[in-house]
Symmetry: C2
Subunit: 252 residues, 2 copies
């Protein structure tokens, strides 16, 4: 723990067979719950999966990524207005939480909680990996975890003891993501400068070659994050928000 440096972290996708004790997991969850949240309403919840059968049940929703079944623990972090609304109704209050802004607040709460958990876990020597599939296949996850109305999964995290030490992946230089006072839009020259190192990495050149593409950007737009997939999953997630009660069906 004392040797942990956030700046040296890396995502861990391979885990030893060792389990995570309940006491440690609870300590990490308690710590994460100390992170900021909206109005101290704690509009989030987390479903812990330890059962191998349940991991396998959710595997297709996570596109069968190996981490989803190999990690001792997966956490599905959810935007959750259900608990708050049940409390309010039981206390003669009329909650108006069945709307998009509540979902946004709850999603922010859930992701802050998730990331606070990740840092706390890494401090204890654990490794984590986010599965972006939580919002792609939210409908399947809702079914697998029996999530009620006003609960939507927004991040799945796999957690375990590291069985590898991968290289840190590249990041864009800081000036690519930071703006001072106002947003300075990118010119063709700044784009060239900011992406040059990324494009020249041998691993990225290899991806271009393997996929028979001309540029690294085409690997992203034609293979990994295609328009048709993005549009398909956009409609799917909007449908989930309607089904779960966060967007009124009359909203244009």
């Amino acid at each position: 723990m004392s040797s942990y440096q956030m700046k040296q972290r890396r995502t861990i996708r391979q885990y030893t067979g060792q389990d995570i004790p309940d006491a440690l997991l609870n300590e990490l969850l308690e710590t994460a719950a100390r992170a900021s949240n909206t109005g101290n309403m704690q509009l989030y919840s987390v479903v812990i999966t330890r059962s191998q059968a349940n991991k396998e049940k959710m595997a297709p929703a996570h596109f069968n990524q190996p981490m989803a079944t190999a990690a001792p623990v997966t956490l599905t972090c959810c935007a959750d207005a259900n608990r708050f609304v049940k409390w309010a109704r039981q206390r003669n209050a009329q909650p108006g939480f069945d709307n998009f802004q509540t979902f946004i607040a709850a999603m922010i709460d859930a992701i802050i909680f998730a990331q606070a958990f990740c840092t706390a876990a890494e401090e204890k020597g654990l490794g984590i990996c986010y599965l972006g599939t939580a919002t792609y296949n939210a409908g399947k996850i809702i079914e697998a975890l029996s999530l009620p109305k006003l609960v939507v999964p927004v991040a799945t995290i796999t957690v375990g003891w590291p069985a590898h030490t991968p290289e840190q992946p590249e990041r864009l230089p800081l000036q690519a993501i930071v703006h001072h006072e106002t947003y300075t839009d990118y010119t063709p020259d700044t784009i060239d400068t900011l992406y040059r190192a990324k494009e020249e990495l041998s691993i990225n050149k290899q991806y271009v070659k393997e996929n028979n593409k001309d540029t690294l950007a085409q690997v992203f737009t034609d293979v990994r994050y295609t328009r048709s997939n993005n549009e398909y999953f956009s409609e799917a997630f909007l449908s989930v928000l309607k089904d779960q009660g966060f967007i009124s069906t009359s909203t244009s």
Copy 2:
């Protein structure tokens, strides 16, 4: 730094006059950029506000909360597909990123980055406060910061050296937010049990009294997060997502 314990953290709303050196701020931003993100596309950006004039310009968008002008630095963390799309177009790629799923991925990236920044800052002795107003008045912030299409603010963080040490606010017991294997919905009895300690806190009893309400829940539903405000800000944020190009206007 060695004495920092995430579990003991608290939000800081009052700051000394001391500034944050550029070198420290950059180190924290570099550290935060090491957190997970979607497909290493880094679909986020951050606008740093140090100028007092600019803080005051944005103050109304943050409902004139004093932290927004009193902190030496505010960070506006944005979901940002603009940079990626500009890069892709410049590399003969056809990005399909003008959709809701891209916004969701970018928002997750931006919040993970924001929270990683907060923990890194707290480790160095700084204090932070999230302003939830970033998504309430996103349109005004877009204007003040000159954010282009495909960029939407999702979290504003005020940062500075703590000038107070507030009590840690209460949190619900862990069993309120954690579910094992599947979601166990709340019964009237579990709601009573989980919210009892919160309701019995003298500070919360005081809020009920001050607001002339019968229950703490009514303070939230009738005063702090009313249906009419939630619905107004839902429509406003959906409009922003359309204007910024993340929801097609033909989407039902």
